[in-house]
């Protein structure tokens, strides 16, 4: 459990970080909280010669709720998400989800940026960002670029981000209505067996918008457009919820692991999705 040798860089602004990244190309990787990357290096599954620690870069930190938009700097820790009163008020789903990530020790250092950039299907933030319709702000040698969270994930650990790009921040419109992040895991510190993020708005007893996304049930997060669409225009009664659950389950493709076989995961996913939808509706 000891990583191979590497050089450690600690730039204090984004352009310096980009310069190192450009210089070393494939051999370099940025380091955020390190709670996904360092274990891989210790297992020698990732051999990285140049590690660029982003923690001194102030411009990558912070949470702002400005008008209708929430922006979260990539280097904001998961603990800071939980601790921020403005955020808890504007988008309570973030706090609910972050509290279900890992354990307090991991959350003190694990970052939002690392969590969404990583591309691990087990990470909880990517599904959540897809549910919220977030935009990822990247910067590279050629300048800045925005990617929709729903377009960012290609396969496990494969994302739309180029090797020489850094994620600066994520932003999304202040969510409305009811919300829920429901997660089943084996224990504290475990990734999801199945997890689901839901935002629903209701007006006059009828659903006006719904967004449903899932974690660790495919090799990428899954935002099910159909599942949300099924709810819209209904009273969100049992029939509509059942149809939404069916649509969401139809969109997933889980694989067997120590948590259990596919059949079990699909079944549990159905239960978790249903609970998330019901809780979100109860809060709408």
């Amino acid at each position: 459990m000891i990583p191979a040798r590497f050089e450690y860089h600690r730039p204090s602004d984004v352009s310096a970080a980009l310069a190192i990244l450009t210089e070393h190309g494939d051999d370099a990787r940025v380091l955020a909280g390190g709670h996904s990357l360092i274990p891989m290096m210790k297992l020698r599954m990732a051999a990285i010669e140049h590690l660029i620690d982003l923690q001194d870069i102030a411009e990558l930190k912070g949470i702002s709720v400005d008008g209708g938009t929430i922006t979260i700097g990539a280097m904001t820790t998961q603990h800071e998400l939980i601790d921020n009163a403005d955020l808890a008020k504007a988008a309570p789903i973030l706090r609910e989800a972050a509290l279900q990530i890992a354990d307090p020790q991991v959350r003190y250092v694990g970052t939002v940026g690392g969590n969404v950039a990583n591309g691990d299907p087990g990470n909880d933030m990517p599904g959540l960002m897809q549910c919220l319709g977030a935009t990822f702000h990247l910067v590279g040698p050629g300048g800045t670029r925005d990617v929709a969270a729903r377009d960012y994930y290609e396969a496990a650990y494969m994302t739309d981000r180029e090797d020489d790009e850094i994620l600066v921040s994520v932003s999304f419109p202040v969510p409305e209505g009811g919300y829920a992040y429901e997660k089943q895991k084996r224990k504290i510190g475990d990734y999801a067996t199945a997890a689901c993020a839901v935002q629903v708005t209701m007006a006059g007893g009828s659903c006006t918008a719904a967004s449903i996304a899932m974690t660790n049930l495919s090799d990428t997060p899954i935002w099910s457009k159909d599942a949300g669409a099924v709810l819209v225009g209904t009273d969100c009664g049992p029939g509509a919820i059942g149809a939404a659950v069916d649509a969401a389950v139809a969109a997933i493709d889980p694989t067997e692991d120590n948590r259990g076989p596919v059949e079990f995961k699909k079944h549990v996913a159905g239960v978790v999705i249903r609970r998330a939808i019901e809780r979100a509706i109860s809060r709408a």
Partner: protein, 806 residues
Amino acid sequence: MNDLTPSREERTENLKGLGCSRKRVEDARFTQGKGNYVDDIKMPGMLFGDFVRSPYAHARVKNINSEEALKVPGVLAVLTAKDLEPLGLHWMPTLAGDKQMVLADGKVLFQGQEVAFVVATDRYAAADGIEAVEVEYEELPVVVDPFKALDPDAPVLREDLEGQTEGAHGPRKHHNHIFLWEAGDKEATESVLASADVVAEEMVYYHRTHPCPLEPCGCVASMDKVNGKLTLWGTFQAPHAVRTVASLISGIAEHNIRVISPDIGGGFGNKVGVYPGYVCSIVASIVTGKPVKWIEDRMDNLMATAFARDYWMKGKIAATKEGKITGLWCHTTADHGGFDACADPTKFPAGFMNICTGSYDIPVAYLGVDGVYTNKAPGGVAYRCSFRVTEAAYFIERMIEILAIELNMDAAELRRINFIKKEQFPYQSALGWEYDSGDYHTAWEKALKAVDYEGLRKEQAERVEAFKRGETRKLLGIGLTHFTEIVGAGPVKNCDILGLGMFDSCEIRIHPTGSAIARLGTISQGQGHATTFAQILASEIGLPADSITIEEGDTDTAPYGLGTYGSRSTPVAGAATAMAGRKIRAKAQMIAAYLLEVHDDDVEWDVDRFAVKGAPERFKTMAEIAFAAYNQAIPGIEPGLEAVSYYDPPNMTYPFGAYICVMEIDVDTGVHEIRQFYALDDCGTRINPMIIEGQVHGGVTEALAIAMGQEIAYDEMGNVKTGTLMDFFLPTAWETPNYTTDHTTTPSPHHPIGAKGVGESPNVGGVPAFSNAVHDAFRAFGLRQSHMPHDHWRIWKTAHDLGLHG
């Protein structure tokens, strides 16, 4: 004339002796991070060794090329079996009478097996060196199923034993067979089964798991070439045994070896065995002349050092229609992995599995255990239990539940009918043990009342109805257990390890100013010996526990003992402590009589002093006596006040308890929630109730882990699937429920202070309590048996197979 204040009660309290919830003296250093563990040992010029391990479960090792590794800066040497062979150290004896490769000798038998030992200036260089060693393997067919291992055409795992039909424990009937161990009367049992009213039959599997102490195993070996002395610090649960074994296998005279167990961060049986890391560190230190440290990491520990359990227990239990048990039959297939490295007393290759008649009066029984080699890691240690006692308890407590189903009877009532009665003790069990004492009915009624058993059953029945009506998706399980342990190994007449009798020892020196040091042959790994042994002594010799230092773990200073595991410390070393204390007191009596100018028989013991009979104001306190022992010439009495006792217990002790777990189960997700856990323990005389409670909390938590998720799982290729704490379940405060502890007190009649040992009871009783709760939740829907660990998916599958998902 002396003043008679403080009162006797105040003086007793002042001693903090037996029965006092004295705060743990160890905690001041542990809670400040000031413990001194083996990895804290740093010596000038110390080197670091680490292993190249096999990625394959079964393969021939064709070639090992160290050339590139030796080029890595800091790497000094790469040891392989070839280097150890001239010293005769490429194999080593196991505690079970088998032998084990220290480094791969031509082949590997399990994933993670030690192949080469890289010695470097620090652990970072060693890690790079390991990466650079090139090993050429040729994969061989893998056997992970112990039943398939006994197929006639199964691959031969132990080529070194080919053609050997006699093993350490009798005949071997197959090339992958280790032993058959039998107890009881097979014929009589089978004839009872053949004519019984009712026979319940089931396969009960206790899965492979791992003790996983927070601190993994490690050592520092330092050979001083000038004086020829080897010092070995390490995570040893039995330091003296390690010294003797090290001397036998290395040829270094025993007086030239000093073994020291510093603070140990949990053992749970994992640190009883002798591991290749110890041997390689010693060799590397001899070769280099420098101290060499070896410390496992978590993955090494889970993958390669001693696992626990892995018993397939086929059971048959016979009873009358009314529920009186008439016979018990068990055949176990024991998966020992690639080498038989169990740490059992030599004559008991299946440990004390023959305690499997449990708390019940069963007239006739038979047990047969077949040990089998597979391509898995060796071990089979007693993970927080006396040797195989948790397997035995799980087996009988499952069989009782299954019999209750077969008889359509309440499982609490079935137990009540069959308990050994108070007046039957000492009780001779059908499988050969003499239970020293017990009062099971009293404990059982107390437990049932405490949880309102009748009320729970009513609630459960209502829940089942509500479930059937579709009003809830949660079921309620009531997990009952009444366990009997057998601990305190043990009488030298039948208990030894590698010929070393399983007595234990205590040596006491009283200092002139009325304080003392006592040294024991045991070693605490978190049990709080420094606290409790001082309390035993305080009550025996009348000096405050706070004035008594307890020291263990240094073979140069401590008297010989067999170490700490199998709940043996209090039953054996605790007894030695009391006996040594009594020797002190006997001498003190003579000194007191001399000082008081009366005959020895005219003084009597009174808490912390000897007083003249009938004249309590004429006395000498222990502190005064101690001073006199060192500064007065007393005719006929040697100066000084010291004693030593080697205690050979006349029998084992038999702690018991009644545990009840109330569990809610979500049928749709397999998620459980523990609503209540009640643990009543009877460990005889209670030395420190707070420590007992702590032991129960810790032990039940480990039981929770084992029953509900913890396992060492292998895939068909022999790959370990649960090699990190991401998949290997260690509960945190979050998963740990609240426990209610309770007790009855039935002192052991043969132990000097009546104590029986408690550290392992909660694991022994806890596992069946949790598992029975899961099974009980589904009893109304026809479940008889399912396998642990009861993680989400297995519980879900149970519900699914019973048709509960519609």
